[in-house]
Subunit: 437 residues, 2 copies
């Protein structure tokens, strides 16, 4: 394909996969609590021309099982050959344990119903980003240029507030200096620290942890403390339709949007029909197959895109096009990730004209990274890098340290399990059925 010289330079000569464990604070959600370390996978795609591109995705065992055959299948292809990735992934991952269900595929986790397709797209996204990074570095162009160019110089992010403990159960893992946040005052204090440190001007609270009255009180406390600022509440589908409508009525005048109050498109459509408050989702619409029903029924007003879910930066742009055509807003979801993924999020967000909500970012909670230089929020924003590729560099020593931690683990942390972590504090804990309230 292409000019032989250009093509040869961009041919993939090597793919390195490095699973790591990174520190994660004891953040609470409706399923349980974050474990002290969470697995991520760092992907390096090396071209014949000697350029290395970086990607990052989930590092749980079921993702690794898909990543390994895909890495092998990429050798000899070019980094520009991205439209063929889904078919290639379907082909080479088709008989992997994850794709065939040898791993349990949970049917109601924090990212909605999981399927083999969704796992594959999340794995694929890390390779797509690595290919774009390599291509950009080789061409001397930022990734945003490969996506058609930036339309803004900065991308706005929101503070991601969590109920949390001061430390992990049993003193496991690293301890930070944030302390506990288990009531409205604790959430307001956390918001102040986020605003002071990073300049965030919009705030999202991860809910579904306490009964709704307490979370309503927390949002009202934030609204009183930060009047006029965009606020969001996300109980991860933990509520019933009547509860959601009651919350929507109580918080309708202070929330920018309500995120996944209920589980599934049917219930989301019911809630949407009963309130003027926009509903956002990163649970009931996380694949292209789920769009038609949700949009036709008016079940969601804002899709929280996530390039890991949607299969990469180019698919994220296609999602944006679908949303635009249907008058559905776009924002960006985030969960535990490092700087490579944050750089990728920022590059694609810079190219979407109608991204009119601040993006979520979990990054401030991740004190460990594999970059030589951490990305820095200023005024709640990240500058869009114009350096070739993603504009970030890998710190190989840090990578090695975090990989050794992964190698040393006895197996309990190699797949994220918020319920298992919760059972260390509450032995009788089972993942709550929804609706929980």
């Amino acid at each position: 394909m292409a000019d032989p010289a250009a093509s040869k330079d961009l041919t993939i000569a090597e793919v390195r996969l490095t699973p790591i464990l990174v520190a994660d604070p004891p953040l609470l959600n409706t399923q349980g609590v974050h474990q002290p370390y969470t697995p991520r996978l760092i992907i390096e795609v090396v071209t014949e021309g000697g350029v290395t591109g970086l990607g990052e995705t989930y590092g749980d065992t079921k993702y690794l099982d898909l990543a390994r055959p895909l890495a092998g299948a990429l050798l000899g292809r070019t980094v520009t050959d991205l439209n063929g990735l889904p078919a290639l992934a379907a082909q080479v991952c088709g008989d992997s344990p994850a794709a065939t269900g040898a791993h349990t595929v949970d049917a109601g986790g924090l990212r909605g119903v999981q399927t083999a397709d969704k796992l594959r797209l999340s794995v694929l996204s890390g390779f797509e980003v690595a290919c774009l990074d390599a291509w950009g570095r080789a061409a001397g162009l930022p990734v945003h240029a490969l996506l058609g160019g930036k339309v803004r110089d900065q991308v706005e992010y929101s503070a991601y507030l969590f109920y949390r403990w001061a430390g992990h159960p049993g003193g496991r893992g690293a301890r930070d200096d944030w302390g506990a946040a288990l009531d409205p005052a604790g959430i307001v204090a956390q918001a102040h620290r986020f605003a002071d440190t990073y300049g965030f001007t919009s705030f999202k609270l991860k809910g579904g942890v306490f009964e709704p009255a307490q979370e309503i009180a927390a949002i009202k406390a934030l609204a009183a403390e930060f009047p006029g600022r965009p606020l969001r509440l996300d109980p991860n589908g933990a509520w019933s339709v009547p509860t959601s409508l009651r919350v929507a009525e109580e918080l309708g005048d202070v929330l920018e949007y309500l995120e996944d109050p209920v589980s599934g498109t049917d219930r989301m459509a019911e809630v949407a029909a009963g309130t003027e408050l926009p509903l956002a989702t990163n649970m009931c619409v996380t694949t292209f197959d789920e769009i038609a029903e949700a949009f036709t029924r008016g079940a969601v007003q804002v899709v929280l895109s996530d390039h890991h879910y949607w299969g990469g930066l180019r698919n994220t742009r296609e999602l944006a096009a679908v949303c635009r055509a249907f008058g559905v807003g776009l924002s960006m979801h985030s969960n535990t990730h490092l700087g490579i993924s944050l750089a990728a999020m920022t590059q694609v967000a810079a190219t979407v004209p109608d991204l009119d909500h601040a993006c979520d970012s979990h990054y401030p909670w991740q004190t460990e990274d594999v970059l030589t230089e951490r990305l820095t929020f200023r005024g709640g924003r990240l500058d869009v890098s114009d350096a070739p590729g993603l504009g970030v560099e890998l710190d190989r020593d840090r990578l090695a340290v975090l990989h050794r931690r992964w190698l040393a683990d006895d197996g309990t942390l190699l797949s994220r399990d918020d319920a298992a972590a919760m059972r260390l504090a509450d032995p009788g804990w089972v993942t709550p059925a929804v609706p929980r309230w």
Copy 2:
């Protein structure tokens, strides 16, 4: 933006606009007949690095009026900066005669209701293609690679059959050796020549010219002569709902799809509700704004994309994504265009995984071109070029000849007007109101 060196090389130093008149046979449609020459605009984007990219779009005066300010505004930008083009075009073309309606904007032509936005997107498409061609040439990559890579090595096209006269009224223009085709036997003979010469295996008939019974007879004659081959009929919205349903019933077992039998989404939805035959369109859905209503109401089952209409190759891919999400098929529309646009169509078509219908192509009717080497259909297909850019070269001598023809015109041919051409044969002709039958 980007690495200074790469960015400088890709900076636009010059934009050349060359309007031309190209020969067009006396092809009939529901509005009238093609004029002997039709205007096209050839766009050359020259980078600081000395690379020239080619684009092509409509050359009518109302398009030229928009193209001129946009050409000026491109200087100093980079060819990768494509997401910013729509806003730029809206800004610089905002007060042009075409955008403000100083030119008549016809409300029911062959491409549906025309608006300033649609004109602007058509103009923009030519610049987008020229930028991609320049970028590809500079990078040593085919345009398809810049769009994420081809997923097929050949693109299938269909034969585009027209009712036609042997020559233009009054002996104007060039005369070809195709002769007249004004009845089923003439259409079948034309189809045979197309099949023999180019290997096409599917056939589209431009209808809306004769009363439906005659066009039904032509399709039945084609079905008898080419059993099992995909057939299409396109009356450009000339029919009523009852007529369309009658045609659908008569031809339901031989047509691949029925194209724009009626005008407007309301009528298309009515027809769609009454037949199992898929309805295709390049009239009621030609912009992203028109998608939601048509898809939600099930008014169309196949969108005939056209990168001129939709604002370029990247938007065509976004259209494909929207169609995919809603289970709507994708095919490709074509009207009078030259080899630059055919090369662009082929490059983007090669990248869309689910383009599962043969694309229309008007190209065989265009005996004049501005390329050093015409593109050649073999087995009804075009090979997807892997050469840098679009893989075509401009014949400057031919371009100059065709431009001199444009310069020499007295004004009657500078904007396509099929009704005016028809009046030379039928002085009382007025553009028929729809539904005509």
